[in-house]
Symmetry: C2
Subunit: 265 residues, 2 copies
């Protein structure tokens, strides 16, 4: 029987030590059938589960936009960061739906995973997954798709190369941010930039109408896209938090801890 | 000490039994230091290694053609068939160089693997890997690349979607087939089609100047692209062999057995 859970005050800033809050959970250990209040109180440090009873939606991975039955437009997102966020939110007790594009990542345990390919499929799956208390749009959704994907494989004919006319995909982040009914209490976007990272992220926050933007520099030389660590900046209405370079799992745990604080009544 | 290797005449047509020829290898088992001719002859069936001393070049997987630092054009090739051919050729005793596009397949043991991304990188690696006795071009090389890949991530600006102007990639199969100096003795291409499979494959054989085409139907409903089995037709100057639907490993072993027969002096 859990008697009390006291949040541990100590959050060491030691490198490599998780910044996730811990609870000092006090258990009442007593023989079966003992009278109330009998027995011994035992304390144990356990990770806080501050998202118990909360619904969290996470998108992850790239989208694939078909050109013809065998060719498609893709991007270098591995899904590592989004999957880590879904896993961390589930570990914090949330009911998590993860809408994932094509990735090599395994489905995180205890998470409801919906697999999609294109941006339009992702939007549909997101609409089905709502309502949610918080939505984190980590997926690198293709901005554009090919206007008329071919039914049969496009053949190489003579020397004329085809021209791909692109049309804009639905903007899932902006769509959810601007919902007048059923908007999640907290909408978090990601901004993968290769230049002017903070400036672009601030502009994106205003343009999309979301609450936070997690911005990072995905220039090839950073190794972040497809890599194991990430250097992010959390952009909110009130300012910018620069986080140190962290394992993507730790970025996920910190972000989930921030979300839990923001959702606290 | 191996005394003799006699090719087994029996190649059962039983489903599921490999069609790869076996050798009845006769070993001389004798005590250390025994006089020549002493001891006992022991026969053991072993897979034939008919490509010992041969150099085989195999390409596999898709190519990725950059649009900008984060986006690219890809295709659904998993690399399963090409990697299986490289593995089978190595098992048959060949020195194998495998030039592979981005795949989730592990490097086959005992094979020299060169990892590339784009068609132009693949051509370079193929040229470095030559000369070879046989070259098998299994890779689904992109026919086109984007004319001017952007140095920075293309931003979504207003409502105007960009148009991707494509230019033709080098034709690796045709290039190697038409080499006047150092052409591999046997050049094998693959044709992934979604309609008129045999007709397109015959036209490709003539157009490219290669010796054989392995043709298959990669329509999404066949599940061949990314799948474990394959239904191929071997198109040569003298006719078409229709193979039954087989595991991709068995397609590889049969093809390697045919290559070994063709290379036999």
């Amino acid at each position: 029987e859990i008697v009390a859970a006291i949040e541990a005050a100590l959050l060491p800033e030691t490198p490599g030590v998780s910044q996730v809050p811990y609870h000092n959970v006090i258990y009442q250990r007593a023989p079966t059938g003992a009278a109330p209040g009998m027995g011994e109180a035992v304390g144990r440090l356990e990770p806080a589960r501050p998202l118990v009873g909360r619904r969290v939606l996470v998108t992850s991975g790239p989208t694939h936009e078909p050109i013809d039955p065998v060719r498609y437009i893709a991007n270098r997102s591995s899904g590592r960061q989004g999957h880590a966020i879904a896993r961390a939110a589930a570990e914090a007790g949330a009911y998590v739906t993860l809408v994932s594009g094509p990735v090599a990542q395994p489905d995180p345990p205890g998470v409801h995973v919906v697999h999609v390919e294109s941006a339009r499929e992702m939007l549909e799956a997101v609409e089905v997954a709502l309502p949610a208390d918080a939505a984190v749009f980590t997926a690198a959704v293709a901005d554009w798709r090919v206007a008329d994907a071919a039914e049969e494989k496009i053949k190489k004919q003579g020397t004329a190369a085809p021209t791909l006319t692109l049309v804009e995909n639905p903007d899932i982040l902006a769509h959810v941010s601007r919902m007048t009914k059923g908007r999640p209490g907290l909408v978090v976007g990601f901004a993968a930039e290769t230049e002017h990272v903070i400036e672009h992220a601030k502009a994106k926050l205003a343009r999309k109408g979301c609450d936070w933007i997690v911005a990072n520099d995905v220039s090839p030389e950073t190794g972040i896209m497809g890599g194991l660590s990430n250097t992010v900046h959390l952009v909110t209405a009130t300012g910018v938090d620069d986080w140190p370079t962290l394992d993507k799992d730790e970025v996920a745990r910190r972000l989930v801890a921030r979300i839990a604080t923001a959702l606290r009544p």
